[in-house]
Each structure stands twice: as structure tokens, then as C-alpha cells.
């Protein structure tokens, strides 16, 4: 792109968006669902309740541009129920999960969609399948930084406010974020008036005050286009998966390791196997989490002996 073929790209993106939606499509939304429109939203809240006294806010922000549309479909079709089971097995007491969708604020009609924090799989599924899979894109960046800005500044979580415990953000994607959040996007999409564009690194710094942010790359072939920039931004919190089908397990594993619920990757592997994950799948998940676990010295590898 970039040789004046904008009408071709616009046209093909729309035809492809339509082609990928079959007649049995569970994602029936053809525009942004009004309840998922972030414009004017003060805050999405994750609150403790008598049934869920120790809530933990978890956000899944899914890139829904072009080639990334498979992840929400897989999540809806097979993964979401097992995700709750695995989180339960990992002893994450009261997870509250919010789904969000990320596109490109440069031209998509719904560049950011945000659901609500929910405790039951039914309600999570409702938000997940209310996402409009616009399938735009065909470009260099997606508006991940706009989504991160929203999560940093428009969420309130009891886990953090009451207990000082950060929530979790998992972004799936295969492109870099814009280098800076354009103030025009913040105003057009969220309604916030910023004085100037905010460098994406500053957005991440603000986000990291209340969240553990992770970026999940769906398969190894897509690392080349985005990994370097995300490593700059998030360091070891970039998780390179070998199959997008592992998204939920990898996310649950990251929480379990980071919270110290499992001591190392061996324990995690045993736990996943006990949940019915096949051997090769367990291996994939462990490989995706190894660099992160190593950074916490929770990879199970022996530490180098100190020189005497």
C-alpha cells in the first residue's frame, strides 16, 4: 500500500469482511454495538460483591482487523468455557473478565469496542459475541495505544483500589501500535480532549500502574511484523504463541505464574494436563510462557551457581 491504491484497499477490505461472515455467524453485529461504544464512557468497573469478594479484573482486548478475526471466533466457539475452568484450577478466585475489540482509528468505523467486566461465562460470551468484527486494516499499525489509553484512564477495579492488586490486560495482535496516541483519535473515539499526542511508551507507563499488560502474538509467523516494537514497550510481557487456539490457556498460565499460584512451568504443565490439555498443546503453552517465566525465575531452570 501507499501507492495511491486506497480505493482498492478500502473496497477489498469490505468484500473480505463480508466473505468471512458465514450465514451461521455468531458474530451478527454489523456496526458497533451501542453498549460497546467507548465514547463518553466514564469508567468500566470491576467490583467486589458478596458472591465474588476478591474480584480480579482481567481484560481481553482482541485485534479484530483483517487476519485476526479467527481469535474471537475460536474463543466463542471452544475456548471460553475452558478458560474459566483453567482459571478456577489455577485458584484465581474471582476473575472478572471484560472483552474489548481493537481496530484502526484511522479509518475503521468501530476502532475500539469495550464490554463490561463480568463474572459468569454466559455474560462474558454475550459481550464477546456482541463485538463487531469489522475486519478492516491492511496497514502498518492498529490502534492498540488508544485501547491501552482507555484501559489506563477509564477503568476502576476493586482489586486495585481496595487491595492494591493490579488487574491483567491481554492484547492479541500482529501489528505495532501507533508510535503515539493521536489526540484526534482520543477525541473522536473516546471523547477525551488531550493537549497533545501522547507517546505510546507514556500510555504504557500509565497503564502499568494498574495493570499487568501482556501482548500475545498468535503464531510464530507473525512475530517479524510486530515483536520488536512490543518488546520495546512491554519487555518480557510479549508472549509468542504457536497457535491462536492457545490464547486462553497462555493467558491463564501467565496469571498463575505472575501471581505465584504455580511455582514453575513444570507445575503449570501438570495443572494444564490435569485440565485435559493434550501433551503437544501443553508443550506449546509452556514454550510460549518460558521467556516470561524465566524473567521471574519461575521457569524451573536451575539458577546459575554463585561464584565462591
Amino acid at each position: 500500500m501507499g501507492h495511491g491504491n486506497y480505493s482498492h484497499d478500502a473496497h477489498m477490505a469490505m468484500l473480505q469482511a463480508r466473505a468471512s461472515s458465514g450465514s451461521t455467524e455468531v458474530f451478527a453485529q454489523r456496526t458497533c454495538h451501542p453498549l460497546m461504544n467507548p465514547k463518553g464512557v466514564r469508567a468500566r468497573e470491576s467490583r467486589d460483591s458478596p458472591e465474588h469478594p476478591r474480584s480480579l479484573g482481567i481484560i481481553f482486548a482482541l485485534d479484530v482487523s483483517g487476519s485476526m478475526g479467527e481469535i474471537p471466533r475460536t474463543l466463542a466457539a471452544t475456548e471460553l468455557p475452558s478458560f474459566m475452568k483453567v482459571l478456577g484450577a489455577c485458584k484465581v478466585a474471582d476473575p472478572q473478565v471484560m472483552f474489548a475489540a481493537i481496530g484502526n482509528a484511522g479509518w475503521d468505523s468501530a476502532p475500539l469496542q469495550v464490554g463490561q467486566f463480568e463474572s459468569s461465562a454466559d455474560l462474558m460470551d454475550k459481550w464477546l459475541t456482541s463485538i463487531y468484527l469489522e475486519a478492516g486494516g491492511g496497514n502498518e499499525y492498529e490502534s492498540y495505544e488508544l485501547a491501552m489509553y482507555f484501559f489506563a484512564t477509564h477503568t476502576e477495579m476493586d482489586c486495585f483500589v481496595r487491595r492494591g492488586r493490579k488487574g491483567y490486560l491481554f492484547i492479541t495482535g500482529d501489528e505495532p501500535a501507533w508510535p503515539a496516541l493521536p489526540r484526534a483519535h482520543a477525541e473522536a473515539v473516546i471523547g477525551d480532549r488531550l493537549d497533545e499526542d501522547v507517546p505510546t511508551a507514556e500510555v504504557v507507563a500509565e497503564l502499568a500502574k494498574s495493570f499487568h499488560p501482556f501482548f500475545l502474538i498468535p503464531d510464530l509467523a507473525r512475530r517479524a511484523g510486530c515483536e520488536a516494537q512490543w518488546r520495546e514497550l512491554l519487555g518480557d510481557h510479549v508472549l509468542c504463541m504457536e497457535s491462536h487456539e492457545d490464547t486462553c490457556f497462555v493467558a491463564a498460565g501467565a496469571i498463575a505464574i505472575n501471581e505465584g499460584i504455580v511455582g514453575d512451568l513444570d507445575q503449570l504443565a501438570a495443572l494444564l494436563a490435569a485440565q485435559g490439555a493434550a501433551g503437544d498443546r501443553v508443550s506449546r503453552i509452556v514454550r510460549a510462557l518460558t521467556p516470561f517465566a524465566a524473567s521471574l525465575e519461575s521457569d524451573g531452570a536451575p539458577l546459575p551457581k554463585p561464584h565462591v
Binding site: 500500500m1 501507499g2 501507492h3 495511491g4 486506497y6 480505493s7 482498492h8 484497499d9 478500502a10 473496497h11 477490505a13 469490505m14 468484500l15 469482511a17 463480508r18 466473505a19 461472515s21 454489523r30 456496526t31 484502526n104 484511522g106 479509518w107 475503521d108 468505523s109 491492511g138 496497514n139 502498518e140 499499525y141 501507533w178 493521536p182 484526534a184 483519535h185 473522536a188 499526542d197
Partner: protein
């Protein structure tokens, strides 16, 4: 009151003369605050290359957009592709200009290209096979033709503010064009046909197009309200005089007026009393992207590769020929004369390619099919080095056409445009 100048930039060939970098240079040189597009539409490809290495091929945003604050006005005959506008603004944002759409104003009467027009254009051009017209595959021509034959179905920029009114028009257009295409080229499956088979296309497109349109300043009558009373205005022509619907060589033409006429009409309607500078643009050699007559065509120039003009799937091959005085004189005549010629791509003469110019044809130029004869007179442009050849060509062209050359460019960058016009 300060006198203003309207700089009217028109390509005297078949397009691709370098209007992009001239417009950017003119805006910087004159301090113009507005760039006005007055013909064609989303098929334009006007490339600007900055000294810092950034480049953008402008299609619907004005080629002055790299200059902060300079605004673009798409005047009424321009045909708009709203979703492509958003894509272009997004690409431009990645090049550091994030407010492309915010600086845009569009005449409320501008016609809109729908997916039905774009797909119909592609299906027809595809069915022509080898006999294609060199269309860009955007749907400008299809939209213009439909607006004349079916004015009740013509969607304008203003109408996109009211999707409920547009919805039934889209449904009618879909039905009508599907039947027309079945009759014209027979029914097909998949690919572009999907546009007509999938009823959901209309809703998907309408949601996007109307949300994009809602973010763009709409100009109801005449000049934009914020026009102001100061500053020059640059009129950025698209395509080229030799593709003009009246003066080009049929059927290899564009359904568009490519002369100064639209720009003059717009200035007249505004009551513009200040001066107008009519700038005709030509390369130091003639080029044509796609099929159609190019009498001075030669493969001696094929070595002049260009990153921004590649052989396209819709337009076909990018062809080159010697500077053709006969074509240039014809173009100047049909557009009512020029004040100055802008001669571009002079740097090509740095290559010693046995440079020539075509000085006569075996018969005169008429309009219509077989309008052009063959070149029967070539004259060598001699010179020991590039600089000598460049000045020899400048002098020879200026003499042959009896016009001054006050603008010349020696490379793709804005800084390589030399202007000898008052600031």
C-alpha cells in the same frame, strides 16, 4: 486589499506529469492556505516526496497536505470515495500528518462512489479483456455515467448525513446494476460479483461511509465558510488534458473535464476578481499509463524506472515516449492557452539516452477515434553532459510552444522544484 493569485495547475499530457510535487512546492512558495481539487476523483495519484524522506501519493487529499494547516477543498465535480478517503488519511497519519480529514472540506453536491459502481467498473473492464480502456478500477466513470442516466439514485456527500434516505437508493442501484451487468457481460460468480449477491454489503458500506462523512466539513454553497480573504489558492488538476472527455482520444478518455474550465467556473462562481495564473505541466518526455495513443513511444526510455508509477493491475503498463511538441501544442490550444509551462523530470536528461523531441506528425490531430497520426519528424537534443541537454530541451520546448517555462523540476522532491514566479 492584498492581491491574491489563483494558481491553476493542469497536466497537458496523459497524467503522471508530477502535479503532486508541483502543488506542494507552489503551496510552500506562495504561502497558499487552500488547495482545491476540481476534477476527477479518487483515482488520482499525486506523489509528494519530502527532503526528510517521507512520501505520500495523494488521491483525494490535496497534495499540499504535508504543509501544516493547509486545507483541501474537494469542489463539486469531484467524485468521492469515502472509505478510501479514510484509508488515505490513515496512511498519511502514519507519515506524521494526523489531521488529513480534519483539514478537508467537501462540496455537498459531490457525487459518491458506491461499492456497486466500483465493482461494476471492475467487472466491465475485466470483460473487455485486451480491449480495456485503462480504467483505474475505482468506479469514477461508472458513477458519473449513472449520475446522468439515473439522477434519482445519485448519492451526494450531503445525503450521507442521512443514511435512512440512502438505504433505499442503494437497494435500487444494486438491483438495476446487477441486471444491467447480467445483460452486458453475463452472470458470474464470486469475486466482484459478491458485491451484488450479498445484501449486507449495503449496510456495511453505509455504516462506514456515513460515519466518515460525518467527520468532514460540508460546504453547502460556493466557497468554504472559513475561506478567508487572504492567501493564494492552488487549484490541483487531476489526470491530463489529453484524457479529457471532449479533447482526448476516444475511447481512451476519462469522463472528466481535464482543462482549466472547471477551475475557472469555480472561481467565477466565487466572484474571484484577483488574478489567475494558468500553469500547464508536462514532463521532459511524454508518458502514458495504460493503453491508448502515444505517438512518440520509445523503449529507449524504459530505463527510467520509477518507484511511484508501477505497472498496475487495472491501468496496465507505464509507457514512455519523446517529448511531443504536436501533442503539447494541441493540449495548450484546447485548454485556451497557458501563462507558463512547468517542465518536470528534467533530471532524466542526466542519462545519455540519445534524447529527441517529436516535432511533427504525418497528419493533424482531430478528436475521436484514430485522432492521432504518426510521428514523422524527430529532432535530436544535443549536449555533452546532462546540464547541457537539460537547458537545450528547455530552450527548444519553450521556443516551439512559444510559452515561458517559469517552473522546472529536477527530481521527485519538493526541493528540486525551481520556481521563477513572484512570491
Amino acid at each position: 486589499m492584498i492581491k491574491r493569485v489563483g494558481h491553476l495547475v493542469v497536466d497537458l499530457g496523459f497524467g503522471d506529469a508530477g502535479k503532486g510535487h508541483l502543488v506542494d512546492a507552489l503551496v510552500r512558495h506562495t504561502g497558499a492556505r487552500w488547495v482545491v481539487r476540481f476534477n476527477g476523483g479518487a483515482q488520482a495519484g499525486h506523489t509528494v516526496v519530502l527532503d526528510d524522506g517521507r512520501a505520500h501519493t495523494f488521491a483525494q487529499l490535496g497534495a499540499g497536505s504535508f504543509v501544516p494547516g493547509v486545507r483541501t477543498f474537494l469542489a463539486a465535480p469531484v467524485v468521492i470515495h469515502p472509505t478510501a478517503l479514510a484509508v488515505e488519511a490513515g496512511v498519511l497519519a502514519q507519515r506524521g500528518v494526523g489531521d488529513g480529514l480534519a483539514r478537508l472540506a467537501v462540496d455537498a453536491r459531490c457525487r459518491i462512489i458506491t461499492p456497486y459502481h466500483q465493482s461494476a467498473n471492475r467487472l466491465r473492464e475485466h470483460a473487455r479483456g485486451d480491449a480495456r480502456h485503462g480504467s483505474c478500477g475505482v468506479g469514477v466513470g461508472e458513477t458519473v455515467a449513472d449520475s446522468l442516466a439515473h439522477p434519482d439514485e445519485t448519492i451526494t456527500m450531503a445525503m450521507l448525513r442521512d443514511p435512512t434516505a440512502v438505504r433505499p437508493m442503494l437497494a435500487r442501484t444494486r438491483e438495476r446494476k446487477r441486471e444491467a451487468l447480467r445483460t452486458a457481460i453475463g452472470h458470474g460468480n464470486g469475486g466482484e460479483w459478491r458485491t451484488f449477491e450479498d445484501v449486507g454489503i449495503a449496510e456495511t458500506w453505509l455504516a462506514r461511509a456515513s460515519s466518515i462523512a460525518a467527520s468532514i466539513e460540508l460546504v453547502d454553497m460556493g466557497a468554504p465558510a472559513v475561506w478567508g480573504e487572504r492567501g493564494d489558492v492552488v487549484f490541483e488538476g487531476a489526470q491530463g488534458v489529453l484524457l479529457d472527455e471532449r479533447f482526448g482520444f476516444h475511447p481512451f478518455t476519462s469522463p472528466s473535464t481535464c482543462t482549466f474550465a472547471n477551475a475557472d467556473a469555480i472561481l467565477d462562481a466565487w466572484g474571484w476578481s484577483d488574478s489567475r495564473r494558468r500553469i500547464g505541466v508536462l514532463r521532459s518526455f511524454h508518458v502514458r499509463h495504460g493503453p491508448g495513443p502515444l505517438p512518440s513511444e520509445t523503449d529507449a526510455l524504459d530505463v527510467l524506472a520509477e518507484p511511484h508509477n508501477v505497472d498496475g493491475p487495472w491501468q496496465g503498463r507505464f509507457r514512455r515516449g519523446w517529448f511531443d511538441v504536436v501533442l503539447a501544442r494541441h493540449a495548450i490550444e484546447v485548454c485556451g492557452g497557458i501563462d507558463t509551462l512547468a517542465l518536470t523530470h528534467l533530471d532524466a536528461l542526466a542519462h545519455d539516452l540519445g534524447w529527441r523531441i517529436a516535432t511533427s506528425h504525418d497528419r493533424g490531430i482531430a478528436c475521436g477515434v484514430d485522432a492521432v497520426g504518426r510521428v514523422d519528424g524527430l529532432e535530436a537534443i544535443a549536449g555533452d553532459d546532462g546540464e547541457a541537454r537539460m537547458s537545450a530541451l528547455r530552450r527548444r520546448v519553450s521556443d516551439a510552444l512559444a510559452v515561458p517555462i517559469e517552473i522546472a523540476s529536477y527530481g521527485p522532491r519538493t526541493s528540486e522544484v525551481m520556481l521563477a514566479i513572484p512570491r
